[in-house]
């Protein structure tokens, strides 16, 4: 009995439309405060740029990627809006999961596949998403969501490319999910 109750509480999520309005208000707040939307992959780029600089020192400056990064970002890479915002995301996600009773170390996967298969696909998906987010100048948050919020043409195109491709490929990966 108590088990069912915990389970139900663990499954209780916010109404999606309410969640959407709240997400929109957070995005609006980001624009109102900083003049820019939300993001996630940009913070990873900052960490990567910082680590390359730390390892290679001045030699890093000759790398085309670092030159492009320095040209489009001012100041120290770690002192970036998105880095602070992403640290907040980790804290916010942890707090929400803790309160809802969803804090648990586990590999979430369909019973039809093994944990190992799930993790291999998670790694491959992460690598592709990381690469794609750099080519596309932002991920689902920074390019698609934030771009759409300010009506950016590029944001809409990236959104359609992401979701269109995932729909087109869904059939081939169905065993992983259904």
């Amino acid at each position: 009995m108590s088990n069912t109750t915990t389970n139900e509480r663990g499954r209780r999520y916010l109404n999606p439309y309410l969640g959407g309005v709240l997400l929109g208000l957070v995005l609006l707040a980001a624009n109102f405060v900083s003049g820019r939307g939300l993001g996630a992959s940009g913070a990873i780029k900052s960490v990567v740029a910082t680590s390359i600089e730390a390892v290679h020192g001045d030699a890093a400056k000759t790398m085309p990627f670092m030159a492009e990064y320095a040209g489009s970002h001012s100041g120290s890479p770690m002192k970036s809006w998105l880095v602070f915002q992403m640290l907040g995301v980790i804290v916010g996600g942890f707090l929400s999961g803790t309160i809802a009773g969803r804090l648990k170390l586990k590999v979430e996967h369909s019973p039809k596949i093994t944990s190992r298969r799930r993790l291999i696909f998670a790694l491959a998906g992460g690598i592709l998403f990381g690469l794609g987010s750099q080519i596309g100048r932002g991920c689902t948050s920074g390019s698609a969501l934030s771009g759409m919020g300010v009506l950016s043409l590029g944001g809409f195109i990236t959104m359609m490319a992401i979701f269109g491709t995932a729909f087109a490929l869904a059939y081939f990966f169905r065993r992983n999910w259904i």
Binding site: P16, Y17, G19, G20, V21, L23, G24, V26, L27, A29, N31, F32, V33, G37, A40, S41, M63, P64, F65, Q85, L87, G88, V89, I90, G92, G93, F94, L95, S96, L105, E108, S110, R118, L119, L123, A124, G125, G126, I127, L128, F129, G130, G132, I135, G136, T140, A144, L145, G147, V150, L151, S152, L153, I157, T158, A161, F167, L169, R174, N176
Partner: protein, 196 residues
């Protein structure tokens, strides 16, 4: 008045502090909407769970309406709001690669951090993958450079590209979203969802 940081109403450090708090709210909303679960996220592509579509479109529309009204009231100067530039080729190629990553990995970058924060090992592995992907881009940047800057169109708004006012496009977007929500509600009833 707004945006605060570009108008120098708040200092750089205050802006960073607010970034942290905005991030907490962002992570909170994502997690409590179920975005820490790859199972829920991938549901949209099979019809059994359309939470991604509902949250994502409601979010984008809420922000869009908010900005339009705040601009109307003179609370925010839209000229100072960053509009993502449009590099046509890279927007499509990047999006296609991300879409493949999405259906394989079940997360996107922001949601994978949320999943990792509550102990999802698959999300942590996805995050490792993200770093590998970004390092991969950094060290092979020369290969992508031409594609990265191809077909630059400036910072057009989709409304401008379609030759209509922001408000009219906004209205059409809301109507399209409501149509998608109706289909999504129907799909969730039609396609079975196995609990695990």
């Amino acid at each position: 008045m707004g945006p605060l940081a570009p108008n120098e109403i708040i200092s750089e450090n205050t802006n960073f502090l607010l970034a942290f708090f905005i991030g907490i709210a962002f992570g909170w909303v994502l997690e409590s909407s179920g975005f820490s679960s790859s199972r829920k996220l991938a549901g949209i592509f099979y019809g059994y769970d359309a939470v991604v579509l509902k949250v994502f479109f409601t979010g984008a529309i809420t922000c869009m309406i908010g900005l339009l009204f705040m601009s109307l009231f003179g609370w925010v100067d839209l000229d100072l709001i960053y509009v993502n530039p449009t590099y046509l080729t890279s927007a499509i190629v990047g999006g296609v690669i991300m879409g493949a990553g999405f259906i394989m990995g079940g997360f996107c970058p922001g949601t994978s951090f949320c999943g990792a924060a509550i102990g999802k090992i698959d999300a942590m592995v996805f995050v490792v993958g993200l770093f590998i992907g970004v390092y991969g881009f950094a060290f092979t940047y020369g290969l992508w450079e031409k594609l990265y800057f191809a077909k630059y169109l400036g910072e057009p708004k989709v409304s401008e590209a379609l030759g209509m006012k922001d408000g009219l496009f906004g209205l059409l977007l809301i109507m399209a979203a409501i149509g998608m929500f109706i289909v999504a509600e129907w799909a969730e009833k039609k396609f079975p969802r196995e609990e695990y």
